[in-house]
Symmetry: C2
DNA sequence: CCTTTACATGCAAACGATTGAAGCTTCAAC
DNA sequence: GTTGAAGCTTCAATCGTTTGCATGTAAAGG
């Protein structure tokens, strides 16, 4: 049916082993043989059977990537493709393929990963996001299977991670607002179970503290990653007796909601309220006013995660188990309004 | 190292073949044996080696998906994750895995696919988008390898495709504008090499023709899928001696640009110009005014493509080789302004 | 001219599953 | 008591590679 190494061997008048060695670039094959075999491979359009190959070599040249479940994907949707593009680009550069795993429940996720790992289908895994008490992480650690987490997980300080310095990023953003004269700065958070939410909240608090500004707990609103939550947050915040003049918002999409809410209530951004958000999605430039946002290097996160994983897979020692991708703040109109006391 | 079928067999006191048959649910294995083997599999946490399995069975339970190249991805970025989610969900439902292939050039793309196909790594392929003169399509046809194209390709009317009825969709949108009294309707197109651009342009023209409205060629602007092109289009269109009062725009993102350009020029939407676009991305609800847009069922496209492919892979006869996913128009503020003559 | 050495290749055993055919029980039928 | 069939299980070949070891041959050294 399909052309195999044996066919090549026959055609070339050598043994299959020789052909195999030609393919793998074994040093002591005569140049003449190499040439002959290669030309025949070309001619018959031979491509090695990957299954057979990895059956004996125990190496699949494939990394798995666990997709977020629909329920959790909403907020990841925006990053998702960029991240994967980073992963796939780097993986392709090292001739690795990418296998996607998923599941609609946590149980299914674990099952999917288990099947791939124990079925020797992949050499390593990238987890696209971190959540607390993740059974997948526990499983992978137990199996001593190479994996990289994009994000951070405090329960497992020893695993390989690629992350942003979210504390610093939030700190920077908050300082940017304070520098313009704001003293009452609020924070619209994401789900508190996510590390990223907690980190950014912490960075915000640190900045406030460093500037000797008191944080009114009423200014901290918990949202999710959908615009509605920003919308809702506004009807709450703008009705506070002492309301903030600036807001740090966890995500562009939520900032959109915030913007919508404010417009509806008749407030103007940045005159009545300054906004700065995270993730610098293409949207943030397109709103009116454009939203200041922190670019967290999504593509880089994916790319680096893949790179780190491949090092681990190949057994190279990874010098640092936590890599931080630099972020960059893009101030735009939504936060450019100086307060004069 | 890893627990194999032989280990199970030893533990259970049966032969490997028996274990294999238990796994595959062979009818004539005694219930007692089944029970015993299964419990031991459970106990040892056995998972079959997928490579070995597919080496002999010639089936990989994996479908490939060719990612668009970075250069082309820009416009697909938005659909991308939704589509993949559709594919992966449906595939997972049939216990199929997803392998991603990519390449930075057309040549690399073909190579990647060739390696997977001839290396017997996958059972079928989904092509995420259609372009003319695609060497990948030719290759797959030659190899008689199962694949599904999301989109359409006129050079190959016989292949399996999943697509929208873009002609009809554009027709509907144009009629919606005309119904509000517009007689001068323009069109901001995508790259003319893409089938989708041509289809929508055709639908637009048909609607105009049907209503006995003349199409001024000046009203048809060619853009790409980036907001800048919408921006540029406006400085051109609004300077025309006879300018349109409504526009059909190929994509939400471009409509954003259009919106931005108009705002900058001091025009108001929908009062000065009505807009209707395609793809109904989450953005379109968030702009001011919100943009009317056609939902093309991106998730459905992916889901159905996967379903169709799996049928083909399993050798089931596919009743129709071109599946159309229904679209739905969401009128929003950007196009809701009636013209009174 | 015979041994040593190096180099190039072939042999054959894996890798972990599947599967057609053969084999062994057990029991019913004649 | 032999024969047959049915039911369950094992045997052994196979899938397409890789790889340690054996082998053959030619050049180099004594």
């Amino acid at each position: 049916m399909s052309v195999t190494i044996v066919d090549i061997a026959k055609q070339a008048g050598v043994s299959p082993s020789t052909v195999s060695r030609v393919i793998s670039g074994h040093p002591k094959i005569s140049p003449a043989t190499v040439r002959k075999v290669k030309s025949i491979m070309e001619e018959l359009n031979y491509h090695p059977n990957i299954m057979a190959k990895s059956l004996v070599s125990k190496v699949t040249n494939t990394i798995g990537i666990l997709l977020p479940r629909p329920a959790e994907e909403l907020f990841l949707n925006l990053f998702f493709s960029e991240m994967i593009r980073g992963v796939v680009t780097q993986a392709a550069r090292s001739s690795y393929d990418l296998l996607m795993a998923t599941g609609t429940t946590e149980r299914e996720e674990v099952e999917a990963i288990t099947r791939l790992v124990r079925g020797r289908r992949i050499d390593g895994v990238i987890l696209l996001y971190s959540r607390q008490a993740d059974p997948v992480i526990s499983f992978l650690k137990e199996e001593k299977f190479p994996f990289v987490l994009i994000g951070r997980n405090d329960e497992h300080p020893d695993i390989l991670t690629v992350d942003n310095n979210n504390v610093q990023a939030a700190f920077d953003v908050t300082r940017h607002l304070i520098a313009q004269g704001h003293t009452r700065v609020g924070f619209v958070s994401g789900p508190p179970t996510l590390t990223v939410s907690r980190d950014r909240l912490e960075g915000y608090k640190l900045a406030m503290q460093q500037e000797n500004l008191s944080v009114n707990p009423e200014w901290i609103v918990e949202g999710d990653f959908l615009q509605e939550s920003g919308y809702r947050a506004m009807s709450y915040i703008m009705n506070l007796p002492e309301r903030p003049t600036a807001l740090v918002v966890m995500d562009d999409l939520v900032a959109f909601g915030v913007l919508g809410g404010l417009t509806e209530l008749g407030y103007k951004v940045p005159q009545d309220l300054c906004l700065a958000a995270f993730n610098n999605t293409p949207m943030s430039e397109l709103t009116s006013p454009p939203i200041s946002s922190v670019d967290i290097g999504i593509y880089q996160l994916g790319y680096t995660a893949s790179q780190t994983l491949l090092r681990a897979v190949k057994g190279e020692t990874v010098h640092q188990n936590r890599v931080l991708i630099p972020h960059r703040f893009f101030p735009r109109e939504s936060s450019l309004h100086t307060i004069h006391k």
